[in-house]
Amino acid sequence: MVAAQPLLKERTDAPHAAAPYDVEAVRREFPILGRTVHDRPGRTGKPLTFLDSAASAQKPRQVMDAVRHAYEAEYANVHRGLHWLSMRATDRYEAARETVRAFLNAKATSEIVFTKGATEAINLVANSFGRTFLQEGDEVVLSEMEHHANIVPWQLLRESHGIVIKVVPVDDDGRLDLDAYQALLGPRTKLVAVTHCSNVLGTVNPVKSMIAMAHERDIAVLLDGSQGAVHLPVDVRDLDADFYVFTGHKLYGPTGIGVLYGKRHWLDRMPPYQGGGEMIHTVSFERTTFAETPAKFEAGTPPFVQAIGLAAAIDYVSGLGREAVAAHEHDLLVYATEKLEAIPGVTILGRVPGKAAIVSFTMDCAHPHDIGTIIDFEGVAIRAGHHCAQPLMERFGVAATARASFGLYNTLGDVDRLVAALETVREMFGR
């Protein structure tokens, strides 16, 4: 498990040796990784070096096949058709819910709500839980390393309901200040909403103990698992999380699908977030009664094909072995950290042991956007910008960073190509 390992562990083996993980076989399942970029008529471009998986990951054939099969052979609307095909599609959709349940080790499928992404899942909680359990002056504790998706919904609730937002600070290495966190948990605190793993720093937060600290005061906790569900094993019952959200497209699944896990006793007491079909029990103009969770939160035709694709992605990742993937990503992280640190003028943000394979960095000679543009011409795709985490950028006194993020298909050669491309940047911008 990545979380238990130091960032820079002792290496006794050569980088490629004794790896039980066949990354070349993995890569063959991702057709896009074989393409070139910047192609022109009469000239083949550069091979793609894809290091932007934290923004969105590429898809294996298994996911695309599942989506295609759902449309080609098993497509009809779910939950309302009396006909055979509708029942088949419904079975597949509900089987996907079971796959997600098992992935998170939730107690029951009734605790798994499909959304269109992590953002919608957080908005659902902010609206439904927020309107029900938060009153003016009540406090929500966030952290300085949150993605905008876990900041703005709470600010909207602040405007509409007068809640108060408190923020856990981050230290210079990128670690949450747990003493400050403890001190922020007060009599008015009703919810803690923090990320499991930072999309900028790679920091894996000690969420189990943070949840325990909150629960001592009967404070509910929402975890943003957008990166956590990709890089770490998640056991919502072991963590005792009240809510856990993640998105499918970062987990090698389709776009337009996400998950809200919520403890049943919360979901039962939360009102619907949106109204429509599927989520009702009976409707009349005088009175409508609502379906049970999770249908209560899934108004309208759900993205069931995408949910089936997500289940295929989870099966795929689980089939590779989450431990094996984590070990592979850790090797990439260690190697990338060593190589990048050896480049003069490179500074890495986020140095907490046990971090995930996300490396944000700056170069003293070039702005991240220039870095991104230049290395793109070498076929190296990274993210450059504020990563939807402007408060964190401000904390570190930078407007932007370059970020290389690794997935289960990346290789040590990808790191070498990144490093070589950064040499081009130094040639151009070096004083």
Binding site: H38, A366, H367, P368, H369, D370, T373, I374, F377, A384, G385, H386, Q390, M393, A399, A400, T424, M428, F429, R431
Partner: protein
């Protein structure tokens, strides 16, 4: 290295990007505006001194950003000095045309040397995502001349 990349990062751009001219907070100015590119987070402030005849007697800026945005701001502060507001607006239009290929340019009111220098930034045309880096300073200058305090490239 690719030709497009060389075109984008010409020597003049690299020079002004590394060593921006007039990046300072002037002692006196009578117009200023804050410009922001929300997509990338780049932000800068443009300071202007206009004399009673509407001639730019000083132009400076503060801010940090990529080489393209710094070079564009730096070149702009040099070029607009001594120009009237009308001439500066014409240069803004010319620059937008250069960077995007859109709009019309009335070259009769423009100085050829100025156009040559601005031409150094025309490489952004091949990089749609970077056009806003190049035009941020000009949008901000425009806002300052109009008496607006804030402008966004969105």
């Amino acid at each position: 290295m690719s030709d497009d990349l060389r075109e984008l990062y010409q020597e003049l751009v690299l020079d002004h990007g590394r060593h921006p001219r007039n990046r300072r907070h002037p002692d006196s100015f009578n117009h200023e505006a804050f410009g922001k590119n929300p997509m990338c987070g780049d932000a800068l402030v443009v300071y202007l001194m206009l004399d009673p005849q509407g001639v730019v007697t000083d132009c400076a800026f503060m801010g940090e950003g990529c080489a393209i945005s710094m070079a564009s701001a730096s070149l702009m502060t040099e070029i607009v000095r001594g120009k009237t507001v009308d001439q500066a607006n014409a240069l803004f239009a010319a620059f937008q045309h250069l960077a995007t290929g859109e709009g019309e340019v009335d070259e009769s009111v423009l100085d050829e040397d100025d156009l040559d220098r601005l031409q150094a930034l025309s490489g952004v045309r091949q990089f749609p995502i970077r056009v806003k880096c190049a035009t941020l300073a000009w949008h901000t200058l425009h806002a300052a001349m109009q008496g607006e305090e804030m402008v966004s490239t969105e």
